[in-house]
Every structure is written in C-alpha cells, then in structure tokens.
C-alpha cells in the first residue's frame, strides 16, 4: 500500500449520541482501495456504532461521509449497498425462519425467475465453498437450525456474493468470535486474497494477533475517539494494548489448578454425549475448570444443554449433583431479556435470594447489579438503563454477572467471550479461577486456545462425541486441531 492509494471511504468528524451517552465524539476514518483496516478498542469504545454509521443503519448527529469522493445524499443501507459497502455485524442479521438460499435472495432482489431458489443457492454455496471449504452447509438448511458458528459463516459468505452491485468494502465486525480456530483461519486467508483483488476491508476483532497479522493499517478507538492510526507493522501487541488504555499489558501466566490431583473433590457432573460410542464421558469435580474444545458445532453446546436440563430434572444421560447456571454465547437467542434493565437482567437468575419477605427487594436487586457492574466493569452510568443500551461485549458481561452472581455451584459457559475485549477477558479469567478455587465448577466451551489454557482439563469434541481427553499441560492449538480432525479412535 502506498500513501497515494485512492481513498474509497472517508468519514470526517462523526459524532453520535444515544441520549446522554456520547458514543462517538468526532471520529475521522479513511479506507483506501484494496486496503485492510484493522479496528480495535474496548467494549463500548464506539467501533460498532461507527460501523453502523458507515453502513447507513445509524445516522450521525454531525460529521460527513464520502464514498468514492462523493457525499451521498440521504445515506441509507440501500445506498450503501449500491455503492458496494457490505457489512457483517455482530448481531447476526439473517432471517431465522428462511433457508440459506432464501436469505441470499432477500439480499439480491435481482435474482428472479422460476428457479431463483436454485440460482441463489448456487451463488451462496460458491462463496461458502471458496471461503470455508468443507463447511457442511446446504442451501436448503433453515437458518434457525444452524449453530451460531455456521450462521456466522453464511452471513460472511453472503457479504461476498455479488450480482448486479459491486463489492468494494466489506465490514467484518468480530467475524471470528463465533468461529473456531480452523474456520477463522480460512476466513482470514480468504480476506487477504480478496484484498489482493482490490476489495477493501474493515476488520474488527478482539483477538489482537489476528489484527496484527492480517491488516495493513490499524486504528485504535477509545471512548468514542480514534487514539492511534498507523501501519500495522509499527504496532506490536503491547503497543496496541497500551493504546487501547489497558493498565495490564501482559497476558498472565496460566494458573491451572496444579496443587490438587483430579478426582479428590466431590463429583459434580458426569455426562455422555448422545452420539458417543465407546467409553468417553465428561467428568467434572468440585472446583475444576473443564474445557470443551473442538471445531464449532460439534456437540459441545448440545452437551452443555443436556447437562443443564439434567440439573432441572433427572436425565439418564447426565448426572449433576449441584445447582447450575448457564452463560449464553448466543446472547440474542439464549440470554438477553430485551425489555428489561441491566439490573433486572442480572438479577433474574437470583430471584429467590433477592426477596425480602415475599417480595423482591429493589434495593437488593440494585446492590447485586452494582456489585457486578463494578466487579467486571459493565460500562453504564446506571444499572436501571435498558440492557440494549450496552454494547455487545458489555451485554455479554451482564450475562456473566447473572451466572456468577447466582447461587449456582456449577457454571456452564457456552463460548461466552464472544465480543468481550482483551482487558476484560483477562479479568474474567482471574475471576473464574478465583471462583473455582472457592469451590465452583466451570464447564467451558470455547473456540479460543487461549481460553483452553485456563482450564484444568480439556475434552475435544468431534461429530458429537468426545475424541480426546487432555490434561492442562497437553493443551496446545496444534493438539486440539489435530484431535478435531483425526478419525475417532
């Protein structure tokens, strides 16, 4: 990239307020043709809001936007699409009741005629095959039946499909947070090839390694402003973290539970995946952090849900000896109550203990919410605000608070760190370790190797069954990926 590369998109002095909250305070941003721009910052720094302005789904209070040197009048998602701006947002935008092909047709009105379904199916499968070889998705699958990782793959592939409109800029807002390491690599590789073909990208991720490796230029946002903007080569991990405003720079050493031998403490969970043949079963004891690994959608979430319902009523597949709480990863479908305040969303799992006499005490509810707001830094001036006033990562923190603030002795986590920033992640790791030392048991499904390293013991899943059983010393990315692909032994 040279300095003279023509600017495709230019944002100047963008400001945006939500009520009293300033989301963007005068942001300048430019993307050149065939450039991959990495955008990083903490939860609530304004990244997603800025992208909504660029995509036309939100209008700026002040500031200007130019695309290809012109300022489009009455900018809207429709105009953005015509000009070639495509986006893949954190909150997935596919219609759950339609098939993959039908969702593609919704995006491309020019697919007409009797066989539009077949045309749309071919279009999307072509892209899926190109980006995610071996994706296992069929064009006639209903979106609601796809696991969140596959939904994310369809969403990404759809952004790349082209019919009568050009594709110039693709915004990827944390596309890898719902993908496992393998598919994330496929996507990043494809992104670089597309950059070579002249398509521009804005790539948002909390995984700084991805951004450093795959972007040409990196912009750091903090508190609704850009605080750094330079070539990717001039950054390293520590500089990025420092620019984002973190006190803590280094990822702490893992502190796995080395002092205690496995199986010394009482049994908490014993469960067998439904499609398990042979002897494999998942076992968790009090005070352990158990990782569930493998490619996304290979039965990890399913087993967590089975354990959850076994705790509610007897189930032959799983033995659970204590109360259970779940931290949802798919927060829209499984977690957030959209009409409620942050405090109500946090308190819902702890209602019996919030009572004073017969009635729920608002004072206790607020106390619980404020305690956790401060403990894991949910960015809000007031816990009585609606939960949707929070950014995606902060909503996820509220769901964490819901489970950790409850009386549950076992916490099930369904890839819960989607959209959570680096600083918070490290804090949550510590918090989980602390709670485990105090006797809580964690079952942690995650697609990130860093998180598996926090676990005392890891089970790798493939096709709905446990195929490997690793102790904390054995966990490496290679080992996990190897087991994910190896034939079941």
């Amino acid at each position: 990239m040279t300095v003279t590369s023509p600017k495709l998109v230019k944002l100047d002095g963008i400001e945006k307020h939500f009520g009293a909250v300033r989301a963007l305070g005068g942001v300048d941003l430019a993307v050149g043709q065939g450039e991959c721009l990495g955008l990083v910052g903490h939860n609530g720094a304004g990244k997603s809001t800025l992208m909504h302005v660029l995509a036309g789904t939100a209008s700026a209070d002040r500031g200007s936007l130019t695309i290809l040197g012109e300022a489009p009048a009455g900018y809207s998602p429709g105009i953005a699409k015509k000009l070639g701006v495509r986006c893949v947002f954190q909150e997935l935008s596919l219609c759950p009741n339609l098939t993959v092909a039908e969702n593609t047709r919704v995006f491309h009105p020019s697919l007409t005629g009797f066989n539009w379904r077949a045309k749309a199916g071919r279009l999307i499968l072509e892209k899926l095959d190109a980006i995610f070889p071996g994706h296992g998705i069929s064009a006639s699958d209903l979106v609601q039946d796809l696991a969140i990782g596959r939904r994310q793959m369809v969403e990404v592939a759809r952004a790349f499909t082209a019919t009568d409109e050009p594709v110039r800029l693709i915004i990827l807002d944390e596309p890898t947070s719902s993908l496992d390491a393998h598919t994330a690599r496929q996507l990043l590789g494809f992104m670089r090839r597309a950059v070579a073909d002249g398509i521009s990208f804005i790539f948002i991720s909390h995984l700084l390694g991805e951004v450093l490796e795959h972007c040409d230029r990196i912009v750091v946002m903090r508190d609704g402003r850009t605080v750094a903007d330079a070539d990717a080569t001039t950054f390293d991990r520590d500089r990025l973290v420092a620019a984002m405003g973190d006190v803590e720079v280094h990822a702490r050493e893992t502190r796995a539970n080395k002092g205690r031998a496995r199986g010394q403490s009482p049994l908490r969970v014993r469960a067998r995946p439904r499609r398990q043949s042979g002897i494999g079963e998942l076992v968790a004891h009090e005070g352990e952090i158990i990782g569930l690994a493998g490619l996304a959608g290979h039965g990890q979430t399913e087993l967590l849900l089975a354990i959850f319902s076994a705790a509610m009523r007897a189930d032959a597949r799983a033995e659970v000896t204590a109360s259970v709480a779940l931290v949802a990863g798919d927060r829209q479908a499984d977690g957030v109550f959209p009409l409620w305040s942050i405090a109500e969303n946090i308190g819902v799992r702890s209602l019996p203990s919030l009572r004073q006499g017969l009635l729920i005490s608002p004072r206790r509810e607020d106390a619980l919410a404020n305690l956790w707001r401060d403990k894991i830094r949910i960015r809000t001036p007031d816990v009585h605000h609606n939960i949707l006033s929070l950014s995606g990562g902060n909503q996820q923190k509220a769901l964490f608070a819901r489970a950790l603030g409850s009386d549950a002795r076992i916490v099930l986590m369904d890839d819960p760190m989607r959209g959570v920033d680096v600083g918070t992640k490290l804090e949550v790791y510590d918090l989980i370790r602390e709670e485990a030392d105090a006797g809580r048991t964690f079952l942690w499904y995650t697609t990130e190797t860093d998180e598996l390293k926090q676990c005392d013991h890891v089970y790798v899943f493939r096709n709905g069954a446990i195929v490997a059983d690793l102790t904390s010393d054995e966990v490496t990315e290679q080992k996990v990926i190897q087991s994910s692909f190896a034939e079941a032994s």
């Binding site: 779940l326 479908a333 819902v348 549950a408």
Partner: protein
C-alpha cells in the same frame, strides 16, 4: 413539575384514563351536568367485572405471542351457574358457592394448559375449543334456567358507600396486589421473562412450564370468581352472562398499555381502559345514537386511543 408531567404522559396507561375522563365529560356536558355522579358509580360497578378478568387475561397475554385465553366467556357462564346452584338461594352457603366457582374456574384453567402442553395445540385453538366444551356442559347443566343468587350475596355485590361500590374498592385492592405480584414476585418476573424470550427464560433457570400452567390456572380462577360476582350483581346466572368479556378482556389489556407481543404488562391501565369502555357506552347511550352507529364509533374510538398510546410510546 414539567418533567413530572412529561413522564406521566410518557406512561402508556395514562391515555386510557385521559380517554375515560374525556368521554365522561362529553356525556356530562350533553346532559347538562345531570347524573354525573350516578354515571361514575354505574361505571365503577360495571368496570369491576372487566378488570377482574382483565387481570387474568393480562398475565396470559404477557406470556408472549400467541398466548390468549379465549375460554373466559364460557368459563364465566359455567362458574356463575355452578356458584348459584351451590348457593341454592341460601345465605349460609355463600362462601361454599364462591369456593365452588373458584374451583370450577381453576379446573378450566388447568384443563386449558393441559391441552396446550400435552397436545401442543396453540393456545388460541386450545382455549377456543375448550370454550365450546365448557359451553355445552353449561347448557346441559344449567338447562337454560335462570338461577337466583341468595339475597345476602346479591345485596353484597350492590353495596355502595358514598356512591362508591364496595366491590370496586375490593377490586382496587386486588389490582394493587396483582401489580405487586407482577413486578415484585418470582411468579410475575417469570411471566415477564417468558414473554420476552422463552428460551432465554428456560436457560436462566425459570421453570417455564410451571409458570405457564400457573398463569392459565390464574386466568381460569379469576374467570370463575367473576362469574359468581356477575350472577350476584345481575341477580341470576345464565349461559350468556360472560359473552361480552371475550372482547372486553382483551381490549382492556391492550388499551391499558400491555404489550400484545408479551413481556410487558400494565395493571393501572386496566382500570382506565375498563372505565373508558363502560363510559364510552354510557356516553353514546346518552347521545341516543342507534346500535349500529354505536358499534362503529366504539371501534373507531378504541383504535384512536391505542394509536395515541402507541404514538406516545414511540416518541419516547
């Protein structure tokens, strides 16, 4: 001061009271002030019956899209007959009769949810088909006879203190309790959570089936007690006594500011809406319009109130 007023107008239920006040003033203006107090007393007396079933319907509708109890009219009819038969015109058996009406309503509510849960029928169909069955039972059980209430019970439902029906006072206390139950008990919070996202509610540890069962049972029970009270107030039970409460129970919930999409309910609004509906009829009657025009106007005015309430909400 201005802020308080602004907040008051931002709450959706205020519009139902504004509407009730407006139609009352219009009627009073037309009669030249004659019968203003009597109109209010009559409106309070009649609104009670709508509010009682409205509370049940509100909890059911708050469970989320598709949840509605269409068996209330048949339920009211059967419970009124059961109550009057058990009381058998004897003042000493009033409590027994009320208990029978409650049990009858509870059984109907439980049967409704059994249909929904065991056969996985949508609530609209389940409660509607249940209502046909209940109606048939009522017809064969009551044989179309009008059964008189005991004099003590009939008098009780008509007592007024300073022009305020005692039943209305009791119902106000009951709705205060319902409001607390909705916002401050585990049951109420569970209903609100299920209405927003049933899957998330289950994963947050809420016993979804139990709560839904309790909600339909509650709605049935309230229908039962309403049937007994109506039979006392109108001095006799009959099969058709609950007919108007099919639409009325749903209308007061919606006008009162409860979301039909579920997850958001409003108790004070039920009172405003019930008074509004009753006073609207009174007003149109004093104007002397024909039955056809009355229906058209009722429909139009309800639409107007809902639009006003919805607009206020959107502007927030």
């Amino acid at each position: 001061m201005k802020g308080t007023l602004g907040r008051a107008f931002a709450t959706p239920w205020i519009w139902s009271f504004v509407g009730a006040l407006a139609v009352w003033l219009a009627a009073v203006f037309f009669t030249g002030g004659y019968g203003a107090g009597g109109m209010l007393t009559a409106a309070l007396s009649l609104a009670v019956f709508t509010v009682v079933v409205g509370v049940g319907q509100m909890f059911v509708i708050t469970l989320g899209p598709g949840n509605v109890d269409l068996s209330l009219p048949a339920n009211i009819g059967l419970a009124s007959a059961v109550a009057m038969t058990v009381m058998a015109g004897d003042d000493g058996r009033i409590l027994l009769g009320l208990a029978a009406a409650l049990a009858c309503g509870l059984a109907i509510g439980a049967a409704n949810y059994l249909l929904i849960w065991a056969l996985r029928i949508p609530p609209i169909i389940a409660t509607l088909s249940a209502s046909f069955v209940i109606q048939s039972i009522d017809i064969s059980y009551g044989r179309g006879l009008q059964i008189k209430p005991p004099p003590g019970f009939a008098d009780f439902t008509n007592i007024q203190v300073l022009g305020i029906p005692i039943l209305a006072v009791l119902t106000v206390l009951f709705t205060v309790g319902a409001g607390l139950a909705l916002q401050r008990t585990i049951f109420g919070r569970s209903v609100l959570a299920i209405g927003q996202n049933m899957r998330a509610a289950r994963l947050a540890g809420i016993r979804v089936n139990r709560v839904r069962f309790a909600t339909y049972a509650l709605s049935g029970t309230l229908g039962g007690i309403d049937g007994a009270l109506l039979a006392g107030y109108f001095r006799g039970a009959n099969v058709d006594i609950g007919n108007e409460y099919l639409l009325a129970s749903i209308a007061v919930v919606v006008i009162g500011g409860t979301s039909v999409a579920g997850g958001k309910a409003n108790v004070p609004g039920l009172w405003g809406a019930a008074l509004f509906l009753v006073l609207l009829l009174t007003m149109l009657n004093t104007f002397g319009v024909s039955a056809g025009v009355r229906l058209v106007l009722t429909g139009l005015i309800i639409v107007a109130v809902i639009t006003a309430a919805g607009g206020a909400e959107a502007a927030r």
